[in-house]
Point group: D2
C-alpha cells in the first residue's frame, strides 16, 4: 500500500497481482474512481524517476550483464517496467497507439507462458541491444506519453487507467528492489569488489533481544476482497486462523549472534538442519551467509558500499530459509508462521513506513540493514513500534510455505493464467527490506522465495512458545 | 496402529518415529507395560512372515536390483528391517550378544547422517553380497533370537523391549509397502512387463461421485502426547485448527475421469498447473500417470498383475501431487488440507481397517486399487463409512505441505537428530493404500512425499467450498 | 590369432568386425573352405565352455547387476553372445528354425543403431528376467543346435557357417575379457571387497628396465586384405608407414615405479598432464590407479583375488591413457605410436600365445598381471621374446588415436553401418592382457578405449628417441 | 607467417607458442637480430590498430557479454592482448616499470594453470569493470610505452624484445579472429539478428568441383627448428611422412552441395556418422550448420552482415568435424590427413596471402567466405593456386587428430608447462579463414578444435583415393 491518500482516492481497487515482480499482469476491477489524478501523476513520476536515479553510478557494461538465471540485468528491469505501461495502458487506451518498437514486446515481456512468446529468462543477459542509452530513451518516451494521457484523457479513460497506473507503480517498485539485489549480485562477481554507492555508516547498538507477547485464539489475517487500498490478490481473502499464545522477538538476529552460531559449528552439524537444508549446505559448501568472506579472525561482508568488516549490531542478512530455520533451532526458538507474524506486526509493528526502507531520495537510502537502535536514515520516517525492524531492514523468513489462502480465487482473464501458480516449494517472507520502496510495504504483504534463495535482503526474527 | 488390544496393553507408548520407513529409530518412553507378550510375539511373527511371503514369486535377480535412487532392492528391505531388530533390541538387551555379521551394520543401516557411516542410498543395488539366500538366513536367525528373548527375558527386559518390538513391527510394515512399490517399479523396467502376482479382477462400479458436508469452526486434530495407542511423533501434539465449512468427495477420482482430463488436454495446458508442476511435465514429458501407456485408442496400465487395459471404475493411481492439483483445478474443485481431511475422515471415514489394504494373507491381497463399490477382497474387513475408499486403495494427496504441528518437539537422544528433518518441500498424503498393511493405518497418520513422486499408490480425493 | 590350423583351413576369411565386443556383426566372404569341421566344433565347444566356467563362483545376484553404463552384467554377456550364434547362424541356416524366445532378440541385441530396436545399454542391469538359470538353459540349447548343424549340415551350409562360427568364437572371446573386467568393477562396489577367485601369488622380480632398438624407415603394418588368418576389418589394409629410429622398453612399468611417480607428486602437478587429462584428474579426484587405496604407508590393490598389498614388481594396471601419458613425460620418455609398437612387437615380441593371457583352463589363469620374470602360469605357454610382457599382462596404451588405416573400406551390408564408426576420440591399445583369451590376440590387433577409461587391464610400455 | 622481410630480419626466431590464442606465452631464443625496428614498430602499430578498428560498430554492451564458455567478450580480448605486451615486455625490459593497474594481471591473464591465479574463463563475461572505455585507455597507454621502448631502447634491450613483439603481434592476430567469431556468436543470441558490419555481396560462381593429383611417397612436412621465419612450436620439427597417391578437391564444398546432403537426410541417417558424431547430432538436435535457419523452402544464414538467404556458391561454413566427416562419407570421398593437406597446399595452394583473409583495412574485409571464383576483395591480394580457397575463406577440417610431431619437444621454462598440452581430443584444421589476418597464415600452420566446435569459420575440402 502506498501513500494512503492516492490509494483511497482510487477507490475500490482489488487487483490480482503477483508476489514477485516478474509475474503480475493485472486487469483491475473497472469501478475505481479516478479522482486526484495530479497526485497519481506525481507519484508516477516520482517512482519512475527513482528507478533511473538508482542507476546513476552504473556503466552501460554494468547494466547489461546477468549474473545468474534468477537475476535480471539492470537494463532489462528498466525496459520491462516500461513495456508494462506501454502494453497495458498506452496500447489499449491511447487512441491509435503505435508501438515504440514492435520487437520490444517479445524482448521485455515476462508474462505469457506459452513457449516461444518471450525471450527466455536465463538469457536476458545476452540482449546487448537495445543499449542502455536506447532503453533510457524508451523510458522517457513512454513516461511522457503516460503523463500526457493522464492529463488529457477523457473521464472514461482516466477511470480505466488510474488503477492500472497504480499497479504499474507497484510493479515498478518490486523491480526497484530486484534491481538492487541483482546489481549487488553482479558487482560481487568482480574480483575488484566495486561499490555501488558509498554510504555513511551510522554506528549504533542493537540492544538486548527482548520478547513480545501475542495472545492466541481465532484471529483474522489478510485483506478483505472489497478493501479500498491496493493489495495483491494473494493477500486475499481475509480469513480466520487459530494459533496459541506465543512470543516474538523485538528485533532481528544480529551479525554477532549469527557469527556465534557459526563459531559453534552451525554449518557443520547436521542435527541443526532440515534434511534438504543440510544437502544444500554440502552441495554449495556454505560456511557463512552469502557475501561473507573470512579474513583472518574476522568476517568481511560485501555490501552495496563495497567490502567491509561486518557490523556486529546490524542484522544478519542474505541468508536462506534453511539457515534461518537452523539458526532458530540452535537458539532454542523457532520461526513464526505467517499468521503469527501478521498478527504480531498489527499489534506491535508500528507504522509500516517507519523503517529502514528504500527512501525516495537516494541520498537518504542506506542500501543495507542497520542496527535496531539506529536513527532512521530518512528524516521523513515515522516512529516504529516495539517490534523493532518490523518493516524494512530485512525480509523475515516465516515457517509457512507459500500456499493459497482459504477461498482464494485467481482472477479471470489473462492474469488468471498466472496468479497463484508459484504456490509450491516456496516460503513466505514478511515485512520488507532496506531495498523495498517505502510506499510499497504493508503488514499483509506476502513475499516468497525458494528455501535456498540468498540474494535478497532476507533475515531472521525469532519466535517461541511461552515457557 | 490398529490391533488395539496389544497397543493398549503396551501402555502409554509415545514414541518418536519417522513418517517414512528409512528414517525412524525410536527410543520409547520407558514406562510401557509389557503385558500380553504372547500376543506381541504372535504379531511379530505374523508381520515378519508377511515380508517373506511377499517375496515368494521373486527370483534372486529380482531381489537385488535397484531401479532408481528413491527405490531400494527387495533384499535390502528384508535385511534392513532385520538389522533394525538386531541393533535396537538384541544388541542392547540380549546378554553378551554377538552380532550376526559385524559388517551388516554398515550395509543395512539407513539411519545415521554422519558421512561415511553407511552405504549410500543410491548404491544399494550394487550390493550383490550377501545374497538373498543369506539374507533370509539372517532373518530366520534374528527372528528366532527375538522370539527367544520375548519368551525368556526377565520382566525388566520385557518392559524395555516390548515397545521397541512394536516400533520394529511398524517399521517393517512401512517397508512392506515400499517393497511392493519398489518391486513394481523394477519389474516395469523390463520390456517383458512381468507380473508380480496374478490377481483376480473383481468387476465393480464406482458409482456417481457425491459430496459430504463437513462443518467449519475450531477443530482438534492429531494425537495427544499421552495417548495409549501407537502413533508416530509427527502426529503430535493434538492441537486446534480453524477452517470453514467445506465438502469432500465420497470416493476417489476414477481412471475414466482422469482419462477425460487427459482427453481435454490436461497435460498440454499450462493454465491448469502450478509453475513447478508445469516444469516437471515438460522436463519428464509426462502425458499420463506413471505406468500408463497408450495402445491405439485405449490406455494400458502396468499393475503388479502385469499389463492390462485400465479399469474405468478403479481409482486413478501413481500420480504426483502436481497431477492431483491440476486435475482438481480442471474439475473446478480443490484438494483438502490435512486438517480438513482428518476431520472428514473422523466423521465419515468409517473403520480404518475396513478398506482395500494389504491383507495379512497374501491370497486376500488385491495389490491394486479397486472400484469404490467393490466387495472387500479380505473377508475380515469391516464396513467402511460413507466417505468410501477413505482407508486403503490410494494415498490421498492433500494441499498441505509437510510441516511440524504447533508445539511439536522432536524427542531427545539419537532419534532427535532425525525427527522432523524432512519437514520441507514435501506434501502430506493420508489414508493408506492397497499396499499399506491393514494394521498399520489410522486417521491421524501423516505420509509425505515430494510433489513429483509417482511410484507410490497415490490418488485424488476432491474437496470444494460450499456453493 | 593362434589355433592356426583351423583358421588356415577355413580359407581366405576376411571379415569385417569390430574392435570391441559390442559392435561386430559380420557377413564373411562366401568363399571360405569349411574343411576341418571337427576341429572347429571342438574349438567352439571349448570357448563356449570357458564363458560358463568363468562364472562358477558367481551368484545369480552377481550376474544381474550393472555397475556403470560402460559395463554389462555377466548375464547379459552370456545371453548376448548366445543370441549372436542364434541370429547369425541358426536363424539363417537351420531349416525352419524357430527362435528360442522371440523377445531375446530385442533384449540381447547390441547391434542396430536405429532407435527403439534394442534395450538401451545403460539399462542392461534392469533386466532381472530372464534369470541367470534361464540364460544358461538358453546357452545349452543354442550350443547343442550349433554343434548339431556343424555335424549334420550339408556342404554348402557348412561352407557358409564355418567362418560365421569362427567370428562368433572371437566375439565370445572379446566378451570373456569384458565379463572379467566388468565383474571386477561390480564386486569392487561392495564394501566387503569379495574375491572373484583366489589365485596363488607367484613371487618374482621384474628386473631392470632395458631398451630395445628398432630401426626407422618405411615399414609395413596391418593385415593384407587377402590374408588367410582371421583378423578384424580395422586391421586392414596392410600399408606403409614411416618412422625414425627409436627404442622401446623391454618390459612394462611396474607398480613400484608408478608409486614413485605418485610419491613425486605425479597427480598434483599440472605440468605433467595433457590439459584434458588434468581436468579429468581434478574432476574425479584421482590420486592413484583405479582399485588402489591407501592404507597407512602402503598401497592396497583390489584384484580379482580380493584386496591385497600391491606387488612392487607386477606391472601397474587399470590406468587411463592420461595417466600413461603423464607417467611417460615424468619418466622423460614417451608412448610408442601404434606403427612403432607393431613393428617392435614383430621384431622382439615373440610368440603371441606365450604371455600371461587367459588360459583355457581357468585353474591356470592368473586373472592379474604378473612380474616380467614370472614363470608362465600356463604350462602350455611358449617362450616370449626379449620385449617381455608384449602379449598378455596389460593392454599397452599407444600415442595413436584410433583412426582408419589409409584405404580402409568398411564392408558392405548391415555391418557397414557400424565398422569404423568408433574412430574418434579413442586411443589404441596393443598386446592383450591377462584377461584376453590366449587364442584371441595377435600383433596387428587394435583395441581402443577412451583416454579416461580405467577398468580394463591397461598398462604402460615406454618408448624413447635415441639419445 | 607475416610480411616476410621483418621476420627474416628478426633472425632465427624459434619460439614456442600455442595453436590457439589463449594458450601461448613465449620466451624466444635470445639470439634474434633486432634490425629493421622501424618496420617492426610500424607492423606493431598496424596490427594493434586493426583490433580497435574491428570494434568500431560495437557498443559497450556488446563488448562485455560472454555468450558461452568457449567465447570471450570483446573487451576481454582487447585487454588480454594488451596485458600480454605489458607483462612480457614492459614489465621485464622497461626500467623501473610500474604496472598500469596491479589488478589487471589477475583479470586478463589466461596463462598459468595453478588454481586461483586467474579469473576463470567461463566467468569472463562477469567483469563489467574496467569498462570498455577504460580498456581502450589501457591499450593506448601500453601501445605508447611499447613504441617508446622500440625507439629509445638500447641495443641489448631491442635484441631481446624484438622477437617478443613479434610473438605479441601473432598472439594479437589470433585474438582478432576469435574476437570476430565470438562477437558473431554473441550478436546471434539476439532475436534482433543485428549486423556487425554491412558488407557488399559479390555475386560469383563456385564452378564445378575438380580434383588435383598429389603423388605419394615419403614427404617432409613441418618447419625446421632453425627456420628463419616465425612459426609456432607445434609446427616443428620438420619430419618425414609416408602416404600413397591421392587427389584433393580444387575448391571447398558449397552451401548448395551441403544443402543437398541435408535434403538427402544427412542429419537423420546414423550410417553416415561416426558414433560420437551421431550422439552429438541427437543431443543438440542439429539439423543444419550453425547459424542456418529454415524459412519456408529456403535456408537463411546469419552472417556478420545480418540474416540473409544462403549463397549457394559460397562455401558451407560453421560446421563441426563430425559434419565434415559425415558429408565426406555421403559424397563418397574423405577428408585429407594433415600431411596430405600440407603437401597439396605446397604444390597447388599458391601464395598464402592471396585468399579471402582478414584485410588490414576493414573496408576491404568480407567477414564471410565467398564463392571460389570471386574476385579477391582486397586489391592487395595475390593470385591463388589451382587449389582454390586454400588460404582464407574457411579453415579446413583434416582427418588428423592434433598430436605431437615426432621428436616434438616443448620449450623449457614457464611456457613448457603449456605447449602441447592440448594434444588430445581435437582435430587439426588448416589454411585460415576470412577472419584470419592476412599476415598470420602459412601452409604449415596447425589450428585445432574439438570435433564438436562450430563457431569458427570452418569448412570442408574433400580428398579421395585414385580410382
Amino acid at each position: 500500500m502506498t501513500t494512503t491518500t492516492s490509494n483511497t482516492d482510487l477507490g475500490a481497487l482489488r487487483r490480482p497481482a503477483a508476489g514477485l515482480a516478474d509475474r503480475p499482469a493485472p486487469q483491475p476491477a473497472a469501478e475505481s474512481a479516478p479522482n486526484p489524478l495530479s497526485q497519481l501523476a506525481d507519484h508516477f513520476s516520482q517512482v519512475r524517476a527513482l528507478s533511473t536515479a538508482l542507476c546513476e553510478s552504473l556503466s552501460p557494461e554494468d547494466m547489461v550483464v546477468q549474473s545468474m538465471p534468477d537475476a535480471s540485468p539492470t537494463k532489462w528491469h528498466l525496459a520491462h517496467t516500461t513495456w508494462f505501461f506501454e502494453a497495458f495502458i498506452l496500447d489499449k487506451y491511447q487512441h491509435a497507439y503505435k508501438p515504440y518498437d514492435a520487437r520490444f514486446g517479445f524482448l521485455f515481456n515476462s508474462y505469457y507462458n506459452a513457449i516461444g512468446d518471450r525471450h527466455p529468462r536465463a538469457r536476458r543477459g545476452m540482449l546487448t541491444r537495445p543499449t542502455a542509452r536506447e532503453v533510457l530513451a524508451y523510458r522517457h518516451a513512454i513516461d511522457a506519453a503516460v503523463r500526457e494521457l493522464l492529463t488529457t484523457g477523457d473521464e472514461e479513460v482516466l477511470r480505466a487507467i488510474a488503477p492500472l497506473v497504480e499497479i504499474g507503480i507497484h510493479h515498478e517498485q518490486q523491480h526497484q528492489e530486484l534491481l538492487l539485489t541483482d546489481i549487488k549480485h553482479l558487482l560481487w562477481q568482480s574480483p575488484l569488489s566495486p561499490a555501488f554507492r558509498e554510504t555513511p555508516t551510522i554506528p549504533a547498538s542493537s540492544g538486548e533481544l527482548g520478547w513480545l507477547d501475542v495472545a492466541g485464539g481465532v484471529h483474522e489475517i489478510g485483506v478483505p476482497a472489497d478493501a479500498p487500498a491496493f493489495a495483491y490478490d494473494n493477500e486475499s481473502p481475509r480469513h480466520r486462523v487459530y494459533f496459541e499464545d506465543f512470543q516474538i522477538a523485538d528485533r532481528l538476529v544480529t551479525n554477532a549472534e549469527f557469527a556465534a552460531f557459526i563459531e559453534d559449528g552451525g554449518y557443520t552439524r547436521p542435527d541443526l538442519w532440515l534434511d534438504a537444508g543440510w544437502s544444500t549446505v554440502r552441495e554449495h559448501a556454505w560456511t557463512a551467509p552469502l557475501y561473507w568472506t573470512r579474513d583472518g579472525d574476522r568476517w568481511l561482508e560485501y555490501t552495496l558500499a563495497g567490502q567491509h568488516p561486518i557490523d556486529p549490531h546490524a542484522p544478519v542478512t542474505h541468508i536462506s530459509f534453511f539457515e534461518a530455520e537452523a539458526y532458530a533451532r540452535w537458539a532454542k526458538a523457532r520461526l513464526a508462521t505467517e499468521a503469527e507474524w501478521e498478527t504480531a506486526a498489527a499489534q506491535h509493528g508500528g507504522d509500516p513506513t517507519a523503517g529502514n526502507l528504500l527512501a525516495e531520495r537516494t541520498d537518504h537510502a542506506t542500501f543495507h540493514p542497520v542496527a535496531a537502535n539506529s536513527p532512521a536514515a530518512d528524516p521523513a520516517a515515522q516512529s516504529p513500534g516495539p517490534m523493532r525492524q518490523c518493516f524494512g531492514d530485512c525480509w523475515e523468513w516465516t515457517r509457512s510455505d507459500y500456499a493459497p489462502y482459504p477461498g482464494y480465487q485467481p482472477p479471470a482473464g489473462a492474469i488468471g493464467e498466472y496468479n497463484g501458480k508459484f504456490m509450491c516449494g516456496q516460503f513466505v517472507l514478511r515485512g520488507g527490506s532496506c531495498a523495498t520502496p517505502r510506499s510499497h510495504i504493508r503488514a499483509t504483504y506476502r513475499n516468497f522465495f525458494a528455501p535456498t534463495a540468498r540474494w535478497q535482503f532476507s533475515g531472521i526474527r525469532l519466535a517461541r512458545n511461552p515457557a
